[in-house]
């Protein structure tokens, strides 16, 4: 466990600078062997030094800055040296090879975090947040991940656990001191009340986590509509670039086109689709079927209608397919007189746009922001479950709360109900790593990518 490991800890091939991280008992000594500059063995902890990495022939490989951080106040609680070298695949690889050459081995996936965790440096939620930093796709996600590193989720879960433990203790006192007549007896209604309160908080957290998942992965927006109603134009206006091929021949867009845009830091993944219509064309048919298959996983569907025409069969199909989904009806071509009978839209939300005169697109963005509570998410504390394991534990805790309710309604004695409540407490504890299970830790660390 104490051997010295190395990995590139920045994304390969991106950015002007790459960081190569070395951790272990011999980290300083090993890097010093390939470093020309100050003698790193005699520098103070947490200092940065300018110099060059040299190969075994003594030739310069790269001009670098080296940070020396000695245990225990480091990420892994071991001696850590970080080499800031020039970015780019070739340069970085060469420096890495030099480190290999002095007998340092390549870290396994997640090994740095595993050491940090095993050395008591970070708790489980923090470890998971590191995965998120690595995977963080935009600023907001990164901010969320950073705050989690500070243990905000941990603190919130702890307040929930405190509430539960208060309840547990109150019931336990009733059991252990039955003769005491002036101790308040916990009633079923009291338990129900507390359980409900905790349930609501947990639901909110779960819901928020789903929103946050969208922040991190982006909101998948599907643009769908009959051929030639202006789907691609809308996409292009939104992306402000000519991504989809726009022609006035119906059926031009045969595949799904993807573009990404940001609304106030939230990423939209926009998918334009082939126009949906009954067609004999085999290739076009594939596109149509694909568009249909994208309806269900999408977070938001923009149904585009041509305002100059009344609803056609294909339009009705689309409206049916998207019924009950998160959707906005976009009525295009408002530069021309409206022919569409709005009463046929079943009171669904609609917005008028005009891609030629650029009208209504801001309104559309505004509507999307409102739908996904973007303002709320941005302004809020970043309390959320950042991965599937946490989310599934939160759901089990939620299920356990339901079990408590069931037990109460089945007239199960409170002392047994208390054991069910204890389960909620334990499950929430598992999120923060308070409850020990082998599998949990193994599973967690297998999810880490190399270098962190």
């Amino acid at each position: 466990m104490n051997d010295t490991i190395v990995a590139i800890s920045t994304a390969l091939g991106v950015g002007a600078i790459s960081i190569i991280r070395v951790s272990g008992n011999e980290a300083v000594e090993k890097v010093n062997q390939i470093f020309r500059g100050k003698n790193l063995n005699s520098v103070l902890s947490h200092t940065i030094h300018y110099g060059h990495i040299i190969d075994d022939q003594g030739n310069d490989v790269d001009e670098v800055l080296v940070s020396v951080m000695k245990a225990p106040k480091t990420f892994t609680c071991e001696d850590v040296v970080e080499i800031n070298c020039h970015g780019g695949i070739a340069a970085t690889q060469k420096v890495l090879e030099c480190v290999f050459n002095v007998g340092v081995r390549l870290a396994e996936p997640g090994e740095f975090s595993k050491r940090a965790f095993l050395n008591g440096r970070i708790d489980l939620t923090q470890a998971e947040a590191i995965i998120d930093i690595i995977n963080g796709k935009n600023e907001l996600a990164l901010k969320g991940a950073m705050q989690q590193l500070n243990g905000e989720l941990f603190a919130f879960i702890r307040t929930l656990r405190d509430k539960i433990s208060n309840l547990l203790v109150a019931i336990q006192v009733n059991i252990d001191y039955p003769e005491y007549e002036d101790i308040e007896v916990v009633t079923k209604n009291q338990v129900l009340e507390s359980v409900n309160e905790i349930k609501n908080k947990l639901i909110e957290l779960i819901q928020q986590s789903k929103n946050v998942k969208m922040i991190k992965d982006g909101i998948d927006v599907l643009i769908i509509g009959r051929p030639n109603v202006g789907k691609s134009s809308i996409l292009n206006k939104l992306l402000q670039e000519e991504k989809a091929i726009v022609t006035d021949i119906a059926g031009t867009t045969r595949d799904v086109v993807e573009g990404k845009m940001q609304i106030d830091g939230i990423q939209l993944n926009i998918l334009d689709t082939a126009g949906i219509r009954k067609t004999e064309d085999i290739v076009e048919n594939i596109g149509v079927n694909k568009a249909k298959s994208l309806i269900s996983p999408a977070d938001l569907i923009l149904c585009v209608l041509d305002g100059t025409k009344n609803l056609e069969e294909d339009d009705k199909d689309i409206l049916n397919l998207t019924k009950g989904k998160n959707s906005i009806i976009v009525i295009n071509k408002t530069d021309l007189p409206l022919q569409l009978d709005l009463s046929l839209l079943d009171n669904r939300k609609y917005i008028f746009v005009n891609t030629i005169e650029n009208n209504g697109l801001d309104l559309l963005k505004q509507e999307i922001k409102m739908m996904f509570n973007v303002d709320k998410i941005i302004g809020k504390d970043y309390n959320y479950f950042s991965n599937a394991r946490q989310l599934s534990l939160a759901k089990s805790a939620f299920d356990a709360l339901n079990d408590v309710e069931t037990a109460l309604s089945n007239d199960i004695p409170l002392d047994i109900v208390e054991l069910e409540i204890k389960k909620v407490w334990d499950t929430l504890g598992e999120i923060t790593g308070d409850v020990y299970t082998d599998e949990l830790i193994d599973k967690l660390f297998s999810q880490f990518c190399l270098g962190k």
């Binding site: 104490n2 008591g120 252990d176 039955p178 199960i412 054991l419």
Partner: protein, 623 residues
């Protein structure tokens, strides 16, 4: 004279230990400071209560004595928590303080292989970290292979009343002043603990009109599975409930500095669960009144025990305090309250068998291990006696797991977590309390008792019959179906449960919370099944889902319990363990990974690392 086993101390732990050893064929000597104080109850005249009552049942299932002796000395008996689930129900008795010791002494005197000697032990004799006997305070040496210390609160005991502090055991007995030095010299870490007892009031000086009557249950119960009812349920002696008054609180507040505790005369740590009255008034100052019970001590004398009023105030303040209570305006105090300080050993120096890690064949049990309560003491005495005898027989110790008995929870807590204040057993200390019920103590532990040799063949066979009867009744209920006929549904509605739409088994019917087992006798003949068999089946069917859940949870725990750790493991050799955990592990040397995981300061990551280390070392890892 040479003995196999010497038991030092004749309290509840000592009596159980001595009897277990003698019954397991060991030539045993019980040394006590005063024979007339054997099995004395120096505090509460009560045995049982939540968790503790279940321990008494467990003692009985294993072949111990406390349950039987309690049954013979009942003044009053009730089942607690009857309005809650069966898992937390427990018996609580008022036991006669004259009869209990008398009956226990009779049993001891009639026990083969057991001698009793009146003396004080001053020193432990050891050779190469192994016990070889004891030296009495008068200098005489007695050899033995094993010594079990059950010295209760006698080690360097100090009685405290106000600013007055003098060396004495309970009841003004002589304290044992040399033994704790001997322990310290052998390398044991000692703790200083404190406990207290309330005043005793002359019964005929109390105006009972101002008190609320607390009677026993109008139904026969017994602690022992023998089910002998020695008492008359219609003539139980009542307790009486009163409350402190505003005046009481005022007197205490005005005299706080005079109490030993607040005057700064106490070194020992007192029990959190059983605070003195001055403690209650200071810590819960918003509470207007505190509940007190007047409990009868014996039918042979008229002292009433004033439960909830333990104090270390000087005598004259105690007089004022007592007279401020309703009904006690003219009360005569027969014995004043006092606090007592004593030495105990840090129980983390013990193995789970209760043998000390430092000195081979030295066992300790009861209050010397930092516990408090007669029941907690008795069960440790029993386990120490059993394990000392098993060791001399060359057998593995009996270590009860946390899912098997409250006794297992108690001992594991003591030796793993250690104590800060005297340890009392509570139901909330047991993770699997649904499995650890009053009703099924025999089903959990009889088998062990029989294997060890403390349960006779005759009793064991009766137990097997009971088990068979339970199985038979369950299968009868599972195969008997009732159909939604008019008469069946009429009956079901008449007992307050919903009518059937399709046929169900009786087993499913009795699962309904509102249906009792006896109501099934409308459909089948239950007369051949004993009450406790019917009760057992009813509980197991009603709570089947929850019991199964608890079993699954226990299974998870046992998984870690199966990973054994060598007792001599040097944790400095295990890389990457957090330093706090390393220090704790080196101190406690847990026997299993499960035990290690329960040490405070040892976190899950440490357990992972330890597990990996053990796997690498190729230590036994049974799966």
């Amino acid at each position: 004279m040479e003995y196999n086993i010497i038991v030092v101390g004749g309290g509840h732990a000592g009596c159980e230990a001595a009897l277990a050893c003698a019954r397991m064929g060991q030539k045993t000597l019980l040394i006590t400071g005063n024979i007339s104080n054997i099995a004395d109850m120096p505090c509460n005249p009560s045995i049982g209560g939540p968790a503790k009552g279940i321990v008494v049942r467990e003692i009985d299932a294993l072949g111990g004595e406390m349950a039987k002796t309690t049954d013979k000395s009942l003044l009053q008996l009730k089942m607690l928590n009857t309005k809650k689930g069966s898992a937390v129900q427990a018996l609580r008795a008022q036991a006669d303080k004259v009869v209990y010791p008398r009956e226990m002494l009779k049993t001891l005197k009639n026990q083969e292989n057991l001698e009793i000697k009146e003396n004080l032990v001053g020193e432990l004799l050891t050779k190469e970290n192994r016990i070889i006997g004891v030296k009495l305070e008068d200098g005489i040496e007695i050899k033995s292979q094993v010594v079990i210390l059950t010295t209760g609160t006698y080690l360097k005991a100090m009685i405290l009343v106000g600013s007055n502090k003098h060396s004495n055991g309970p009841h003004g007995e002589k304290a044992s002043n040399y033994l704790s030095d001997s322990l310290r010299n052998l390398g044991f870490k000692l703790l200083r603990l404190k406990t207290g007892t309330p005043p005793r009031i002359a019964k005929n000086s109390i105006d009972f009109n101002k008190t609320k009557l607390e009677t026993g249950d109008n139904q026969y119960y017994a602690f022992s599975f023998d089910k002998h009812y020695y008492y008359d349920k219609d003539n139980q002696i009542p307790c009486h409930l009163i409350y402190t008054t505003e005046k009481t609180h005022e007197i205490i507040k005005n005299n706080l500095e005079q109490s030993s505790m607040y005057g700064g005369y106490v070194e020992g740590v007192g029990p959190r669960y059983c605070p003195s009255i001055e403690d209650k008034i200071v810590r819960f100052s918003d509470k207007e009144r505190h509940q007190l019970f007047l409990e009868p001590e014996s039918i042979y004398y008229d002292d009433m025990y004033l439960q909830g009023f333990s104090t270390s105030m000087p005598y004259e303040v105690q007089e004022q305090m007592v007279h401020s209570l309703p009904g006690l305006e003219n009360a005569v105090i027969k014995k004043y309250a006092y606090a007592i300080e004593y030495d105990a050993i840090d129980p983390r120096q013990l193995k789970q068998s209760l043998e000390t890690k430092l000195i081979e064949n030295l066992y300790t049990a009861g209050q010397i291990n930092g516990s408090s309560g007669y029941e907690e003491a008795a069960c440790q005495g029993l386990i120490a006696g059993i394990n000392a005898s098993l060791k001399l027989q060359g057998k593995e110790p009996l270590i009860l797991k946390r899912n098997e008995a409250y006794i297992g929870v108690l001992i594991d807590d003591l030796v793993t977590k250690g104590i800060k204040d005297p340890y009392r057993l509570l139901t909330s200390r047991a993770e699997y309390r649904l499995l650890l019920r009053n009703d099924n103590a025999d089903l959990r532990l009889r088998e062990y008792g029989y294997q060890i040799g403390l349960v006779s063949l005759n009793i064991y066979q009766n137990f097997l019959k009971k088990k068979e009867s339970i199985t038979a009744l369950i299968s009868l209920l599972k195969k008997t179906k009732i159909t939604p006929t008019l008469s069946t549904n009429d009956y079901l509605q008449s007992i307050g449960t919903t009518a059937l739409k399709e046929s169900i088994t009786l087993y499913e019917l009795v699962k309904r919370p509102e249906v009792t087992m006896m109501q099934l006798s409308h459909f089948i003949d239950l007369s051949s099944y004993e009450e406790e068999v019917r009760q057992q089946v009813e509980i197991e069917s009603k709570y089947e889902g929850y019991i199964k859940k608890a079993l699954r949870e226990a299974e998870k725990m046992l998984h870690l319990e199966k990973v054994k750790i060598p007792i001599d493991l040097d944790y400095d050799m295990v890389p990457n363990i957090a330093s706090e955990a390393r220090q704790k592990l080196n101190e406690i040397h847990p026997a299993t990974l499960g035990q290690a995981s329960r040490i405070s300061g040892v976190n899950p990551a440490d357990i992972t690392i330890l597990n990996i280390y053990l796997k690498k070392r190729g230590c036994s890892h049974d799966k």
